[in-house]
Amino acid sequence: MKPAVFDYVRAESVEHAVQTLAAAGGDGKLIAGGQSLMPMMNFRLVQPSILVDINRIVDLDIIQIRGARLSIGALVRHRMTGASELVQQHIPVLHHTMKHVAHLTVRNRGTFCGSICHADSAAEMPMMSLLLNGIMHIASPRGRREVPAQDFFIGAMATVLEPDEFVTEVEVDVLPGGTGWGFHEFARRHGDYALAAVAVTMQRHDCAASGVRIGVMGVGEISMRMPQVEEMLEGREINSDLLKKAVEALQAELEPNSDLHASADYRRHLAGALAGRAIIDAWSRSEKGTK
């Protein structure tokens, strides 16, 4: 239950961090909040030869509006995202979601971008980055690149990141005024990893849903958008018939795993029930007649 031996480097800049990672030849790891990495190191599931601490790099702990997007830097803790007035004002669904993220003490340390890189399908950040059309800003010794959330997650706790790459910020959509939203999660204990969660946003034009987005988590190897279900609701008035069909379609697309905590059938049932509630919430919160 103690980490294996490693060398420690306190990065002074993004460039210093990625150069150090590159020099480690695929055997280095970045640490920000450490709330996922440290347990894995304590269990020796991860044994980096060099640990690169990014906590002293300046200007990475910033949440800012950039055009129609909101940028969250690599050292923004969950507590800061949850308390951010910008997030509350422009992306209320993210503000609400943060209440479900881990426990108070973990939120003090854990970071938005770190959770994205960890890519656990039962964690909220990967799903929110998909829901909000996130773009990961990635630095490496070869320069910078941007990867959309849709292309970033490739499997259970696996991303397209190379060993010498560093997610310096994640940009997400600011939601237009009048956007309705819903988020429902079920976990065995508040703040624990979710058995399932569903997030939905939509606008309403002339009594019809538009711009429908649905994200699910905890019910597959990775968090997912549900484009076919989004399409079913697009341009339609949400009524109980349509809702029932949408929930069934969503359940049909899921292939959850069974584990100690829940069977696949239970998870599928749960995802459907949570989706139904989230769609109703988003529909009723969307402002009627917005353009």
Partner: protein, 160 residues
């Protein structure tokens, strides 16, 4: 063994400068290097909350923090809250409400509660229970701990 690193930390107001191996957990540094055994080690993977300390004024799990990361930091442990003769306010509330039985989880609880009282809304039992949800107690059933926090939250409100 990897290269040891010199760190200077303030723990309960006292400054320490020591060489540490990078892999040393803050929990082990506090207990084994500084002899501050009030911080308890339960699960060592961030689930139980027994090792909670304050790092620059906010609660943190010392088993998920490396000692080497705390260079220049201000750390508070349960030893800084009070003594057996003069219990701190949170400790006194635990005593008054029977908020502990075996006491193993108690240092983590009182440090988490110190953070809660400094930074969080605790107007309802739901808020109190949610804020406590990262700390596990296997004796009390939590009821008496919630009672203690409720009294502390009311007392805090009376000072506002």
């Amino acid at each position: 063994m990897s290269k040891r690193v010199s760190i200077t930390v303030s723990v309960n107001g006292q400054s320490y400068t020591q060489l540490v191996e990078p892999r040393m957990l803050l929990s082990d540094f506090l207990r084994h290097e500084l002899g501050l055994t009030g911080t308890h080690v339960g699960c060592e993977h961030g689930v139980c909350g027994a090792c909670t300390i304050l790092l620059d004024g906010r609660s943190a799990r010392s088993c998920l923090t490396l000692a080497v990361q705390t260079d220049g930091a201000d750390i508070q442990t349960v030893e800084g809250l009070g003594t057996i003769e003069h219990l701190g306010r949170v400790q006194q509330a635990f005593r008054d409400h029977h908020g502990l039985q075996c006491g193993f989880c108690t240092p983590g609880f009182v440090m988490t509660i110190t953070d809660m009282l400094l930074h969080h809304s605790l107007d309802t039992d739901d808020e109190i229970r949610e804020a406590l949800s990262g700390n596990i107690c296997r004796c009390t059933g939590y009821e008496h701990i919630v009672n203690a926090v409720r009294e502390l939250a009311r007392e805090r409100a009376s000072f506002k």
